[in-house]
Amino acid sequence: MSDKRKIVQVPIGPQHPALKEPESFMVDLRGEKIDAVRLRLGYNHRGIEKGCEQRTYVQDVYLVERICGICSTSHSTAFVQAVEEIAALEVPRRALYIRTIVAELERIHSHLLWLGVAGHEVGFDTLLMYSWRDREAVMDLLALLTGNRVNYGLNTIGGVRRDITPEEIPEILRVMDVLEERTKYYIKLGLEEETLIRRLAGVGKLSKEDAVSLGAVGPTARASGVDRDTRRDDPYAAYGEVSFKVVTDDHCDVYGRTLVRLGELMEAYSIVRQLVKNLPEGPITVKAPLRVPAGEAVSRYEAPRGEDVHYVQANGTDKPERVKVRAPTLANTQSVAKMLEDGYLADLPIVIAAIDPCFSCTDRTISVRDTARGTPQTLTWDELSRYGIDWHRRRGIDFSKVVLSGGARA
């Protein structure tokens, strides 16, 4: 048998249970071993960057917030920071503190979510159930503080929209205590559970050199010993006023990435406590102009998944000239192929999951439009179904020919 015949091509995606979002990994398998991986991104391109140019700054805050469901406040903060820099707004300290508190709560929610997903990807659903149960605490807290569990709608240009009341503070501290204890348990579990360690350790290796040259960011980079964290290196919001440790690890594998995220959870609890303790008095917004003076700014933000970069160019009107978003996952996908080299198929889901991919963020940039007629249009379910069948028929696939047993018809 020639070598070529031993290779089996497996399509992981665009639709696959391991991926929560559509992206395609074409995997060449040699037995259970991965021979090569080809990535195809872009299934989630929604035209958000273009959309931003056509909306006002006020509307854009909510649009960029919806780039991603998990790190929504990351994107909106990164965006408003850029606009505030252009408009030279002095954001009140209290607003910066509140932003930072919600940012860290978001990190907690994201990392706990990730822990569960990681558990699920290696078939450890019990871990998924427990960590997602605990994540509810922080979700409810976010709902209390901001008015929703996701897409918090917290930021506005020039500050935040909602204050933290004195009654809410004990609740924040209570949730931090509960979660800190739970996180300690997960750290202990991560160091003890044999089957979990066996599935995580040594899997998805990414050396420090590769992490640097492929531009990895966030926990993915830090688990390969790259000591970078925008919160410390280019402080924004209130990060200059709190003390925290940048968690790094030199396992350079999925296990290291797990430990880094668990470590960051512990840091996040301490950051939130410091911020709540020192929450300054004062207003929460300054008046922002409708028309932003011409100028440009780059804003960097350490999202739970890594560094988020927003570039905004203003042209003096109430709409931006250009908004550019670089989500952390786009930087990290470059290293996935490297991590998968010589790995097992069984490890593929966890290796992909370990960068905590968010392909919606990555692709950003649909209103449903009927491109043939050029008008926005809404289809009913029946129309959509008929449309789908016609679409396939035009391409020579006729569902009436599909063999179905029993009396069922296509």
């Binding site: 089957t195 198929l345 490890d347 889901p349 179905l404």
Partner: protein
């Protein structure tokens, strides 16, 4: 035994219908316990039945590329083999429906058939995920069958009989020897996780890797039969372990015996549920490694121990 009673015994009680009933009950116990161990509520008692009924009513699609005959026969053969093997296992009385010297070997072979149908059904589905699942399933068979066979061989050697009823009778007469076979029981439980394709050995149907493995293309009635076969297989295997390793109370009359039998089987089902809650899924290479390096040697030592013991009794 008249033809009518034989037919009743094979098809209804304690045959197929009864087996399906406790199979679904077993699935409920497994799922409920799994949920409660995870601090969830879990399904209501009728959920397994509702799932099966729903599947029976669903459209069944056979892929165009699949080998139609094998694809449709595989689930039925799986269920038939499991139901047939059930008849040889003594449950609450000392005597099963059918019994002869050497039926242990027949039962073990019959119980191998479902795993083979997973392979055949998956392989002839012709889809990439099914094929991968099929190959994984058959690889896994080679890994867990060795320790499982050795673990069941050991008590048979000590009892000096190849009939399950004979073994049950022997251990009922000598209850002390139960303790000798405890390592074998543990090995058999772990191997069962492999046979039933459960975490940590659910490699052939690992959702996040290969969708549903062999079952990816299955739907409707065929999938329902496969699921029933797996539910029943769990019960048959648990009954087999109960008969071989836990032969208590066989002479206490039908009623107490029946309750005791259910308790034993459900206890084994519960232990299996606990085990699948505890671990992360292993990789195929790790699983094979574990079976051959850890549990097969333990099973082998059990065989040696029982052989030596046999010489001294």
């Amino acid at each position: 035994m008249t033809a009518a009673t034989a037919l009743f015994q094979v098809l209804v009680f304690p045959g197929l219908v009864f087996l399906l009933g406790i199979g679904l009950a077993g699935e409920f116990v497994d799922r409920k316990l799994y949920a409660r161990l995870q601090n969830r509520v879990g399904p209501p008692w009728f959920q397994p039945l509702a799932d099966v009924l729903k599947l029976l009513g669903k459209e069944k699609v056979v892929p165009e590329e699949a080998d139609r005959r094998i694809f449709t026969l595989a689930p039925i053969v799986a269920l038939a083999a499991v139901a047939a093997s059930f008849l040889y296992i003594p449950m609450w009385g000392p005597k099963p429906v059918l019994s002869f010297e050497g039926d242990l070997v027949v039962v073990l072979y019959l119980l191998l058939i479902p795993s083979l149908t997973f392979f055949l059904g998956g392989w002839y589905s012709r889809s990439i995920f099914s094929t991968l699942g099929a190959v994984r399933a058959i690889t896994q068979v080679f890994a867990y069958e060795v320790p499982l066979l050795l673990a069941l061989l050991a008590p048979a050697l000590l009892a000096g009989t190849w009939s399950i009823a004979g073994m049950a009778a022997y251990y009922a007469a000598h209850p002390g020897y139960f303790l000798v076979n405890v390592p074998g029981l543990l090995v058999a439980l772990v191997a069962l996780l492999g046979k039933l394709e459960r975490v940590p050995f659910d490699i052939p149907e690992a959702e996040t890797e290969i969708v549903a493995g062999s079952f990816t293309e299955y739907s409707g009635r065929y999938l329902a039969f496969f699921r029933l076969a797996i539910d029943c297989e769990a019960i048959v295997c648990a009954s087999l372990l109960a008969a071989v390793f836990l032969p208590f109370g066989l002479g206490l009359g039908p009623w107490i015996g029946f309750v005791l039998y259910l308790a034993k089987v459900l206890a084994i089902v519960a232990v299996l549920a606990l085990l699948r809650t505890l671990f992360a899924r292993l990789r195929l290479d790790q699983m094979v490694d574990f079976c051959f390096r850890v549990i097969a040697p333990i099973a082998f030592l059990q065989v040696v121990l029982n052989l030596v013991l046999k010489e001294f009794v």
